[in-house]
Amino acid sequence: MFESLSSKFASAFSSLRSKGRIKESDLDDIFGEIRSALLDSDVSLEVTNNFISTIDDKARAVLGELNKSTNPSQAIFDIVHQELIEILGGSARRIRLAKKPPTVILLTGLQGAGKTSLAGKLAKYLKDQGNTPLLVASDLQRPNAVTQLQVVGESVKVPVFAPEAGNGVGDPVAVAKAGVKFAEDKFHNIVIVDTAGRLGVDAELMQQAAKIRDAISPDEILFVVDAMIGQDAVRTAQAFQEGVGFDAVVLTKLDGDARGGAALSISQVTGRPIMFAATGEKVTDFDLFYPERMASRILGMGDIATLAETAKNAFDSETASKLESKFASGEDFTLDDFLSQLEAMKKMGSMSKLLGMLPGANSGAMKKQLEQFDDSELIRTQAIVQSMTPAERGEPKLLNGSRRARIAKGSGRAVSEVNALMDRFAAAQKMMRQMRSGKGMPNIPGMPSLPGMSGMPNAAAPAKIAPPKKKSKSGNPAKRAAEEAL
């Protein structure tokens, strides 16, 4: 019964597309569907109603004009898309570093939102950019929250200021203040203060949060919120806005299947942008938040921009240019190329997360397969290819039965797995040839296949409603494939 927002949008728009002329009553239908889709995705009732009335006004105002255009449903789609981006906070925003260091960042939010894990991820992210962050353990409430921050700090190699053991003992205001002082003395240019989770309705604890704020005058107060939160998102966000105030929002647990309707509601109601998104339990599962991309994802257009960027970062420039020139010269895609792509893929992180960024990835059938996707397949595939000799990699035709048996033994896999891989490789090679001849590319080259996933973007309805193809063509095959998938 529970379908994702994207698939609802997709079905709503595909019925609209089948109509040549759009009547006022068609708009009633589609906006009704969008309304219940938004509510099912936990967008707050008030925000949903406002959203619907805005897009309704906009669409009706131009309906006459639209019907003269060649593709009126596309134009309506664009109105919806644009408005979603608007609500999600327009353009992306970054941490503002204070003119005079240290930059003080205060984390607040409900119990269980994920503040402590986020503190670690944020610290790592900032450290990787050349900063020298300090973590401050001001959650003295939840049992062993301090220990948790210490463990997290150790794993990202960021020092943790924790003078109190916590567990209900100690003054969080004093710790926060001393932490900032410590950072000044030790020349840390950023301080991240973790605080206890608290309820918006808990006046006493909200006051304590305000006291922490007044003691350390943070440059950025971040409100951390679980992407799975429902209609309470607005009440809670408002309570925090009144109680402590915040500059930006961080959405956590976006790696689940919650559609993150809270994101829409919170930015809309508080006027604060979403800055970061946490997408997993590893310290690297942390991304900047791009309203544009999120809106596209919600609409089932996939998150190609993020995918392409991840791919770009993972392929070292040498591998990329080698593949590029190979591609341009018309040379065949070999098992060696396949191997270097697999290595790059591994660097890109969880495959299911990456595949989830593709258009149509949120449609029912596809989603199920993505969730089942086993990242260890990548490692198994790699082991098989690595057990081949260079000659075999260059000339897969050499792989007769006895060679395949040897490879299976060497990689600890079954012969049937070797055979399946070779079949998939042959298909990937064929696809590369097709792509070169300009027929379009249904999959990322070298990607271990997902059961039943060939021709993925085409298999799902949302791809049909995607906007016109971008003109730019990347030389990087993965990136290009990603672009073409649009």
């Binding site: 119990q111 049992p143 689940g256 969730e371």
Partner: protein, 278 residues
Amino acid sequence: MALFSKLFSKIRGGQTSSADWQEIESSLIESDLGAANTGEIITLARKLKSDEVEQAVTETLASWLSTASRSIAKNTDRPTTILVVGVNGTGKTTSSAKLASALKRDGASVLLAAADTFRAAAIEQLQTWGERLGVSVISGKANGDPASVAFDAATKAKADGLNFLIVDTAGRLHTKSGLMDELGKVRRVIEKITPVDEVLLVVDATTGQNGITQAKVFAESVALTGLILSKMDGSARGGIALAIERETGLPVKFVGTGESAGDFQPFDAQKYLSGLIA
């Protein structure tokens, strides 16, 4: 039952205006009951005469409650084993401790197992609770095998003839099939020693419509027997619990209302339903 008297006193007797209906609708949607469920209630109630509206709404909501038992199993011949599961941060560890505390208060002997070996300091968190409550905690190494901790705990609970074993597990998103399989393994390993009697899913009251998928997926992999609805002391009304009960038939067994051991009560249907419409 006159659960929603404040709102319905306006309606009772007089003409129900469309603004009144909108108010009922808003209230239910804002409780996280879900748009479709709410739509059903409104359609049903609108067909009735205005003086029956309150009763109709109340009875329909009540008819969606699970009919399964809301008390937990209690064995006399072997330890009653309870597995506590859920997505990250819902309140599993705290609820495990609260439940241990409630059972101990009733005079039962209880053992806690720290089978969340994954999250930083999760073991220490449960140990701290154990010290506070005077309940022993079986634990293993951080990042060790959760199933083997559960196995050790089950072995001890059985050998010592304890009344209850409560196993706290790591938070996991239901979309991660590998982690869901791990949970199944924890269950199977315990069952080599003693049957698992209860598997309780902790659902945070602030959870939105995603809670239904959570409950369904957890039910599939570990055969849930009920829910614990945590954080009902906040502003969220926890309508998702009724949506889950309707959809899965799983009963809410306990409600968490704060961060202390005592903030934990058996589910009270009347109180819960009357809280849905604010």
